[in-house]
């Protein structure tokens, strides 16, 4: 299968979730990954996880 557009990329991620048995709710997934320290060996991943965690904290703070 070719990766011609964003729908193909989403299908790829979905199929990886089915292969690995990971919950496709990616926010929870990344949070879990960060907590487990599994992404610590990649600078890109650190930046990505930090950004997502900050976004989550921001969402919590904005709640009434």
């Amino acid at each position: 299968m070719e990766l011609a557009g964003s729908h193909d990329l989403r299908a790829l991620v979905q199929d990886f979730c089915q292969l690995t048995g990971v919950n496709p709710n990616h926010t929870q997934w990344l949070q879990s990954e960060a907590e487990a320290g599994r992404l610590e060996d990649s600078k890109d991943m650190q930046n990505l996880v930090s950004s997502l965690l900050l976004r989550m904290i921001g969402m919590e703070v904005s709640l009434p």
Binding site: D15, F16, C17, T20, G21, W29, R38, L39, D41
Partner: protein
Amino acid sequence: MICLECGHDGRYGSPDCSQCGLPLRVAPPHVEPNHLSQLQVAIDEYLEGTLERDRLLQIIERFEERVGEFEQRWGGLMETLLKDRLAEGLRQNYEAATVEIDRSLASLVDALSLLQEFSEDGNEEALLPAREQLLAFFRLACGGCALVLHELELEQLRQIRVGNSADFSL
């Protein structure tokens, strides 16, 4: 997620399989049960002498079925690299992510080969390196997919921004 003990397709977040009642294996570094955690803990239990060989073979076989399903949709694991399947317009934003996923598939191929050494030749020494390769696969696959999702989100934001600009210009 599938219970690799009985093959039941259950829901996420449950500690036990709703069909066979067995716990869905999870241990550090995994946070929630998944196929890799089930397989890794089963390998540990076998090496500790608390899981029979036949049950481990069944679990390995069920995981290999998941790989087979993936291959049906995407072709052989290392047949064509995902980065080479990217349309030209996607290369700039998604090449790094697909390279990471291709690396994950290379680890998966190594793991499957080692598991085959155990299941067909009875080589128990292949199990620990197989476990390491499975963990490497999981790390790299999660990392690569997270990068894909991140880029997809950025793309959506870019599209929204383009939409807002159009509104302002009116």
